[in-house]
């Protein structure tokens, strides 16, 4: 069990990387607390697996340090780091029985027989593998094999951390949900640091207390699922988290007015201050479809924007409306009971939900700790 700290870590698969693009992992510093359940979330190719393999010791970083409980482990093998890892695709030792598969990591550390037996039984029960223990691992389905791979990761109790690399990719959807719950339970029982790589936000949110969102080799935001939703730190997080993702509209800042097309939007003081301070012209405003409102009350009408509703999709308890705001397409979530029709519509962006992004990063937020 250990606290894992990454210090100025970067990695490139090329021997002499020249530009930033050649790094699979750009310089990052991060701390995973002992006993936490974390998810690493991001699209494929963002460097999640690279990061995981560096932590487990399968890969040596090009620069920076990996610290376990304050000690540098860069030079240590996975064995010496005492890490368990579950891979995306099932790895089973085909010639062995399921029991031998689960016992393999324990036998390799020369655990006493009785303990092996007990531990294997326990994990097998947890993963519902008890009735196939005597079978050859080769002849099982992909589901079962992946359960074996996962069980092998869980069988050692004394590990520093357990890393999961998209472990549920090959698993049936209904089983996925069950296994996710299982992992959560196991985490609560064992108090081991767990790191879970996935590209599925739902999976990340159900498993983890805190999620690190990765994009182009960087951790762009780290926080609770709620904070990722409410305050995306980066346009990518806004777009990647939530379904559908956040609406973004490029804007200009001229003479104290935030404009796009013919429309102006009202910003908070902090946001205006941030805009005054930056020379950048890469400015965007962002709002989640859930927070777009119809301009009904007097106050809303004063700050309303004029849009054209071009499409409505009904999802039962709510609908999603596609609006044209000038030439920008935005999505609005309309709850049951609210009325919207194709044609002209007045909408309103509440100040507390309207976010400003300068160079793709969140700016002008009220600092509250």
């Amino acid at each position: 069990m250990a606290e894992i700290v990454l210090n100025n870590l970067a990695h490139s698969y090329l021997p002499n990387p020249e530009s930033e693009q050649e790094f699979a992992l750009r310089e990052l510093t991060h701390r995973w607390k002992q006993g936490g359940a974390y998810a690493l979330l991001g699209p494929s190719g963002c460097g999640k697996s690279t990061l995981l393999n560096i932590i487990s010791g399968l890969l040596q970083p090009s620069q920076g340090q990996v610290l376990f409980d304050g000690n540098e482990v860069n030079e240590l093998s996975p064995k010496e780091r005492n890490i368990a890892q579950v891979f995306q695709f099932p790895v089973v030792y085909g010639g062995m029985t399921v029991f031998d598969n689960l016992a393999f990591p324990l036998r390799n550390i020369k655990a006493p027989k009785a303990q092996i037996k007990q531990k294997v039984q326990e994990v097998a029960e947890l993963m519902e593998l008890t009735d196939v223990l005597k079978k050859k691992a080769n002849n099982l389905s992909a589901d079962q094999k992946q359960k074996i791979s996962m069980a092998r990761g869980l069988v050692r109790e004394d590990v520093s951390a357990i890393l999961f690399d998209e472990p549920l990719t090959v698993i049936d959807p209904h089983l996925k949900w069950k296994l996710r719950r299982k992992l959560k339970q196991i985490h609560e029982q064992l108090n081991i640091t767990m790191l879970y790589v996935t590209h599925d936000q739902l999976e990340a949110a159900t498993f983890a207390d805190e999620i690190a969102v990765m994009y182009q080799g960087k951790i762009v935001q780290f926080g609770t699922p709620q904070s990722l939703f409410e305050k995306p730190n980066h346009t990518f997080v806004g777009y990647f988290i939530g379904s559908p993702g956040m609406n973004f509209i490029p804007v200009s800042w001229e003479q104290g007015e935030c404009r796009f097309g013919n429309q102006t939007v009202t910003l908070t003081e902090q946001q205006e201050a941030a805009l005054n301070a930056t020379p950048s012209t890469n400015l965007k405003i962002g709002i989640r479809p859930e927070f777009v409102q119809l301009a009904t009350s007097q106050e809303r009408i004063e700050h309303s924007l004029q849009a054209e509703c071009i499409h409505i999709e009904d999802y039962g308890t709510y609908s999603l409306a596609t609006l044209m705001l000038d030439e920008h397409k935005i999505i609005m979530r309309v709850e049951e009971g609210e009325r919207i029709a194709i044609g002209h519509v007045s909408i309103h962006f509440p100040n507390e939900s309207l976010k400003l992004y300068i160079d793709e990063y969140l700016a002008g937020e009220v600092v509250s700790e």
């Binding site: 010639g95 393999f104 990591p105």
Partner: protein, 289 residues
């Protein structure tokens, strides 16, 4: 993959069938025909039934060369299979080093068999050959043309040189088919390199090893050209293997009947052993699963 039953597919295999049948069945029939006749010349032959078969089963010379043959094939397998696995395990996985080692390994396989014999004939000579000269100057009394043990060992060494590459290349391609994730998982599970070999590499190698053992057994059991060029079967008859004994009988002494009878038995031995080996291996696989 489910195959569809379709007897018209015979039209597609017909050319292969005809070509192979032409070169295989007619000579085979001829040999069967020889084996039951006593042939004096092109026009005079008597039907003798199974007499030749009875005779050759008691022939001391054939029995001896059969034993020599088994001994040789066994030695070939005992050296080449482990050595081939070892070479495959040590070969680089990628990059120019991999290409270079592949090409070097494949080299002996592409040399005509009698040239292989010639190469070793020269290489192992005490006067003009590096190998023989080297051994002699190290104080080893070595002369493959006079000493039968030396001769036998030289033929064996030549076969190892010639054919270990085949085993190594087969194993190498088997190893290449193991996904990197297996090695990673093994590292995470703290497997020793022996465990990695035993539980990851060996199971994947089984398929190609069956092919390797079969090919090496068959070919070493029929070895003819290389020892013929290298030692001519001598000194004495120490390196006269089965094929050569038979060729001497058939062509040298024109004892066609017994030679044909024995070569059929020989064919059956190879066929039977290959079949036995093949089915045991595949059955072992099924039992486990």
């Amino acid at each position: 993959m489910n195959k569809t039953p379709n007897n018209k597919a015979w039209w597609l295999v017909l050319p292969v069938f005809l070509l192979v049948a032409f070169s295989a069945l007619i000579p085979l029939m001829t040999v069967v025909n020889y084996s039951v006749q006593d042939i004096f010349d092109q026009n005079t032959a008597y039907f003798v039934g199974i007499e030749w078969y009875q005779e050759i089963l008691q022939d001391e010379r054939l029995r001896e060369s059969l034993f020599r043959q088994f001994g040789f094939s066994f030695a070939v397998l005992a050296i080449e299979i482990p050595l081939g696995i070892f070479v495959a395990l040590t070969m680089p996985k990628q990059g120019w080093q991999a290409s270079v080692s592949l090409i070097l390994l494949a080299l002996p396989l592409l040399i005509p068999w009698n040239v292989v014999g010639t190469i070793w004939q020269v290489f192992a000579r005490g006067d003009i050959g590096l190998f023989g000269w080297g051994l002699n100057s190290l104080g080893v009394d070595y002369n493959y043309t006079a000493n039968s043990v030396d001769a036998w060992l030289t033929v064996l060494l030549m076969d190892v040189w010639h054919w270990t590459s085949l085993v190594a290349l087969l194993c190498y391609s088997g190893l290449r088919a193991i996904p990197e994730a297996y090695y990673q998982a093994a590292q995470i599970d703290r497997a020793s390199s022996w465990s990695i070999f035993r539980y990851i590499q060996m199971p994947k190698l089984k398929g190609v090893l069956v092919i390797a053992v079969l090919l090496r057994f068959m070919d070493s059991f029929m070895i003819y050209t290389e020892p013929f060029v290298l030692t001519g079967g001598g000194p004495g008859s120490s390196t006269t293997f089965l094929s050569q004994t038979l060729a001497q009988m058939a062509i040298g002494q024109f004892d066609l009947g017994p030679a044909a009878a024995f070569s059929l038995i020989y064919f059956l031995i190879v066929l039977l052993l290959s079949w036995l080996f093949f089915t045991t291996i595949t059955h072992m696989d099924k039992d486990k699963s």
